[in-house]
C-alpha cells in the first residue's frame, strides 16, 4: 500500500492511500465532528457534520468517505465549516421532537453533545413539530421516532454485523422513517434476533431499552469494532 503525506490543519501527516480523511485525522489527534459515522460500520456520508475543506477544490468533502491523496491540504475548522455544522444541528433539532428534558438519553446523547460542542444555545429555524410514532411492541426495546436523526446506524449494524437486515428506511425527504421488517411492528418482525445492537449504536434516545427513565439510558458500543474486525477477518 502506497504511503502518502498530506497536511491536516497545517500538520504534516502520513497515511495509507486507502484511508479516509477521518481515519487519518483521528490518528493525528485532530478531532472532526461526526454523527452518522461510527467505528465499525460502513460510512455513508449522510449527516455532513464531518465536511472539510480541501485546498484546490471548492466542494466541501465529507471526511468519513473521502480517501486521502498525496499532497492533500485539508482544513477541518473554519468559520464557514463551523457555521454549516451548526446549521446541520439546528436542522436536526427542528426536524423532530427532541425534548431533551424528558428523553431517556438525556446526558448521554451524541446530538446533545454536538450541540454543546458547537455552542448551540438555541435553534433559529422554526420547529416543524411532526406527528411521529412510538413503537413499543418489542419485549425489551422501544423505538421513538421523535428522537430519530436518520443516521442509519441501526440499519447498517443490523445489516452488516448482525446480518438480519431488520431495519431500513421508508418514505423520503422529511417523511423518511426507519422501519422494522416491511413496516410492521417491531415485535412482529420475523428476522429480528433481539440482539439489541441497533439500540446500542443509536446516537440518541430513538432506540432504547425499555424501563429506562429520563437520562437513564447509556449506550455500550465496545463490541462494535471488535465484531466488525472479526467479520472482516472471516471474509
Amino acid at each position: 500500500m502506497a504511503v502518502t503525506t498530506l497536511k491536516i490543519d497545517g500538520k504534516e501527516v502520513s497515511a495509507n492511500e486507502d484511508e479516509t480523511i477521518l481515519d487519518v485525522a483521528f490518528q493525528a489527534g485532530i478531532k472532526i465532528p461526526t454523527l452518522c459515522h461510527i467505528e465499525g460500520l460502513t460510512d455513508i456520508g449522510a449527516c455532513r457534520m464531518c465536511i472539510v475543506e480541501v485546498a484546490g477544490s471548492n466542494k466541501l468533502q465529507p471526511a468519513c468517505t473521502t480517501k486521502v491523496k498525496d499532497g492533500m491540504e485539508i482544513t477541518t475548522q473554519t468559520a464557514r465549516l463551523k457555521k454549516y455544522r451548526k446549521m446541520v444541528l439546528e436542522m436536526l433539532f427542528s426536524e423532530r421532537n427532541h425534548v431533551c428534558a424528558v428523553c431517556v438519553s438525556n446526558g448521554n446523547c451524541d446530538l446533545q453533545t454536538l450541540a454543546v460542542e458547537h455552542d448551540l444555545t438555541h435553534v433559529r429555524m422554526p420547529y416543524l413539530y411532526p406527528k411521529t410514532e412510538i413503537d413499543a411492541s418489542h419485549e425489551w426495546f422501544a423505538l421513538d421516532q421523535n428522537r430519530c436523526v436518520l443516521c442509519q446506524r441501526c440499519v447498517r449494524v443490523c445489516d452488516e454485523i448482525e446480518g438480519a437486515h431488520v431495519w431500513d428506511v421508508s418514505g423520503r425527504g422529511v417523511q423518511s422513517r426507519v422501519i422494522t421488517g416491511l413496516n410492521e411492528p417491531w415485535a412482529d418482525s420475523d428476522t429480528c434476533t433481539s440482539c439489541g445492537k441497533c439500540v446500542q449504536v443509536c446516537p440518541t434516545g430513538a432506540l432504547s431499552n425499555k424501563g429506562k427513565a429520563t437520562g437513564e439510558m447509556t449506550k455500550h458500543r465496545e463490541f462494535l469494532p471488535y465484531l466488525a474486525q472479526r467479520r472482516h477477518d472471516h471474509k
Binding site: 455513508i44 446541520v88 423518511s176
Partner: protein, 536 residues
C-alpha cells in the same frame, strides 16, 4: 446476421413503401388527444376511397409540435396537419384524392420547423418505432456493423472524443472522457447504463426519443458496449413512461430475434444484451449513484462520489452511465464522423440539443437546435412568442436544478458555459417560458415544493433545508415575512448548496437564488416592514 441481410431488410422495406405515406403521431401526447382514433379514421378513409394501393397510414413518433397535436403529416405533399380530430381526419385523405382538407394546417416553412437541426431526432416522426425494419431502412444498425468490423474499441472512443459530445443529462461532462475512463478501468465485467429517468417538470425530450426511435438508443448502447468492453446494458426508465417501456421491450425483442443483440453480433465475438429496469418514481434516481442503487435492488439513494461509477458502479464494476439523448447522438456521430459533429454548435458545446419548449408560448413542443442559438431565437422565432401577446418575462431552464433567465439576457447563447454564467444550467432540456403575469416568488416556491417532494432524505441539508426554505417562501408569499426571513432564506440557500450530498440537494436552491438575483424586487415587495425592535 450479416451486412447483406441488413441491406436486404432495408431494400425489402423500401420496395414495399407506398407512394404516399400519411404519418400519424403516436406518442404519449397525441395519443392522449385521440391519435389512436384518428389513425383508425385515416385507415377507414383510405379503404373507403379505395386508395389502398397508393396510400399507407403509418404510426410514427413525435413530430415536435406537441401543443398543436394530434399531428398528421404527408411529407411527399409537404403538408403538416395540426389539432386533427377523429371527425376531420378523413378529409386529409380526401385531399389526397382532390378533395379539400378541413383539418387545420401548420406552416412547414415556419421557423419552428426550418430553424431546427435534426440529428438526434432525425428519425423522430418519420419511422414506425414498433418496426425494426423501418429503423434499418433509415440506415439503422449499419453504424454498429461498421464499428464492430472496422473499428478498434479505442477508435470508437476517439471518435466520440473528437465529436466533443457532452452529457445531455444536464451536467455536460465530456462523454468521450467518460467512455475512456470506463474503458481503462479494471473489472471482470463492465456495464452500460442508459439513464432514462427524466423527471424535470416540463421536460419530455428523452420520453419522445424512447417512444419515437427506441433502436437508436439501443444501437448507441451496443456501440458503447463495444467501445468500453461491456456485454450487458440496462435501460433505466421511469414507470411514468409506460409507452416508452413497451416500445423498448418490443424493440429489444426484435433486435434479439434478428441477432442485433445477443451473442456474436454481426458474426463477431462481440456479445451485447440490453435489459430494462423500471424506476419507481423517484426523481433522485436520475442521479448516477442513486440509479445504480435502484438497479441493484436497493433503496434509491445517492452515495458520495468518488469513487465515480466509471470506476466502481453497478455491483462495484466499472459502469458507463449516459443519458438517453447522449446515447442517441452516438449513431449519427459514428455515421458522419466525430469531426462533422464537432463542426456543429459552439467552441465548447458541440452538436445539437433537444429542448421541451413549454409554458406561455405559442408553439409548445419539442425542438432540436444547434448549440449556440440564442434564447431569443428559440423563444421568439421558433416559439413564436406568447399566445396572447403578453410580454415575456423569463425562461426557466434546467428544471429544479436550474434557474430563471430574465428577458434582458435573452441574447445569451445556449451552451453549457453561457447558461451557467447567467445563473442557470443547460439541464436535460426543459425550457419553460413565463410571461409578465408570472410571480417569480411563486415560481421559486413551485420548484422548492418539487425538491421537498423528491429529496431522498439521506443527507440533512437537503432533507430539512428544503422544507425550511419552502416554509420561508410560503411566508413571503403570504406577506408574513420580513427582511430577516429573507436573510434566513439566503443563508439556507448557501448552506444547502455547499453541504448537500448529491447534485439534487446542491442545486435545489438554484431557482430561489436565480429569482433573487434577477427579480429581487418581487421578493421585497411582499415583505412586511420590521416593527421596530420587537419581532424576531
Amino acid at each position: 446476421m450479416l451486412l447483406e441481410e441488413l441491406t436486404a431488410i432495408a431494400e425489402k422495406t423500401r420496395s414495399e413503401r407506398k407512394e404516399i405515406s400519411v404519418r400519424c403521431c403516436m406518442s404519449s401526447g397525441c395519443i392522449s388527444s385521440q391519435a389512436e382514433e384518428i389513425k383508425k379514421a385515416l385507415e377507414m378513409a383510405v379503404t373507403e376511397k379505395n386508395l389502398g394501393e397508393k396510400v399507407e397510414i403509418r404510426q410514427v413518433g413525435c413530430m415536435g409540435l406537441c401543443g398543436k397535436g394530434p399531428i398528421v403529416s404527408v411529407e411527399s405533399e409537404g403538408l403538416i396537419y395540426s389539432d386533427v380530430t377523429p371527425e376531420n381526419a378523413a378529409s386529409i385523405i380526401d385531399a389526397l384524392a382532390g378533395g379539400k382538407a378541413v383539418a387545420s394546417q401548420a406552416d412547414p416553412t415556419h421557423p419552428f420547423f426550418t430553424r431546427q437541426m435534426l440529428v438526434v431526432r432525425s428519425n423522430g416522426g418519420r419511422i414506425d418505432p414498433d418496426k425494426i425494419e423501418d429503423y434499418i431502412e433509415a440506415g439503422g444498425y449499419s453504424a454498429l456493423y461498421r464499428v464492430i468490423h472496422e473499428y478498434a474499441p479505442d477508435q470508437v472512443i476517439n471518435e466520440v472524443m473528437k465529436s466533443g459530445l457532452r452529457g445531455r443529462g444536464g451536467a455536460g461532462f465530456p462523454s468521450g472522457l467518460k467512455w475512456s475512463t470506463v474503458a481503462k478501468a479494471k473489472g471482470d465485467r463492465k456495464y452500460i447504463v442508459c439513464n432514462g429517468d427524466e423527471g424535470d417538470p416540463g421536460a419530455f425530450m428523452d420520453r419522445s426519443i424512447l417512444e419515437g426511435d427506441p433502436h437508436v438508443v439501443i444501437e448507441g448502447m451496443a456501440i458503447a458496449g463495444y467501445a468500453v468492453g461491456a456485454s450487458l446494458g440496462y435501460i433505466y426508465v421511469r414507470a411514468e413512461y409506460p409507452l416508452a417501456i413497451s416500445r423498448l421491450q418490443l424493440a429489444i425483442k426484435h433486435a434479439k430475434r434478428i441477432g442485433l443483440l445477443g451473442d456474436g453480433i454481426f458474426d463477431s465475438t462481440f456479445n451485447f444484451n440490453v435489459e430494462i429496469r423500471i424506476g419507481a418514481g423517484a426523481f433522485v434516481c436520475g442521479e448516477e449513484t442513486a440509479l445504480i442503487a435502484s438497479i441493484e435492488g436497493r433503496r434509491g439513494q445517492p452515495r458520495p462520489r468518488p469513487p465515480f461509477p466509471a470506476e466502481s458502479g453497478l455491483w462495484g464494476r466499472p459502469t458507463l452511465i449516459n443519458n438517453v439523448e447522449s446515447l442517441a447522438n452516438i449513431v449519427p456521430i459514428i455515421n458522419k464522423g466525430g469531426e462533422w459533429y464537432a463542426s456543429l454548435g459552439t467552441e465548447k458545446s458541440k452538436g445539437t440539443k433537444v429542448f421541451a419548449l413549454t409554458g406561455k408560448i405559442r408553439n409548445n413542443g419539442l425542438i432540436e437546435v444547434p448549440m449556440g442559438i440564442t434564447i431569443r431565437q428559440i423563444v421568439e422565432d421558433l416559439g413564436g412568442g406568447t399566445p396572447d401577446g403578453k410580454k415575456i418575462k423569463a425562461v426557466q431552464t434546467g428544471g429544479p436544478s436550474g434557474g430563471c433567465i430574465p428577458v434582458e439576457l435573452f441574447d445569451t447563447p445556449v451552451d453549457y458555459e453561457s447558461l451557467m454564467k447567467v445563473g442557470s444550467i443547460m439541464g436535460s432540456g426543459g425550457m419553460v417560458v413565463m410571461d409578465e403575469d408570472t410571480n417569480m416568488v411563486d415560481v421559486a416556491k413551485f420548484y422548492m415544493e418539487f425538491c421537498v417532494e423528491e429529496s431522498c432524505g439521506k443527507c440533512i441539508p437537503c432533507r430539512v433545508g428544503t422544507v425550511q426554505m419552502l416554509n420561508l417562501l410560503k411566508m413571503i408569499l403570504e406577506r408574513k415575512a420580513t427582511i430577516r426571513d429573507l436573510e434566513a432564506l439566503e443563508e439556507l440557500c448557501e448552506m444547502v448548496q455547499n453541504t448537500s450530498l448529491c447534485g439534487l440537494g446542491q442545486t435545489a436552491p438554484n431557482p430561489v437564488v436565480s429569482t433573487l438575483k434577477y427579480f429581487r424586487n418581487e421578493y421585497l415587495e411582499l415583505l412586511q416592514p420590521l416593527p421596530g425592535e420587537i419581532i424576531a
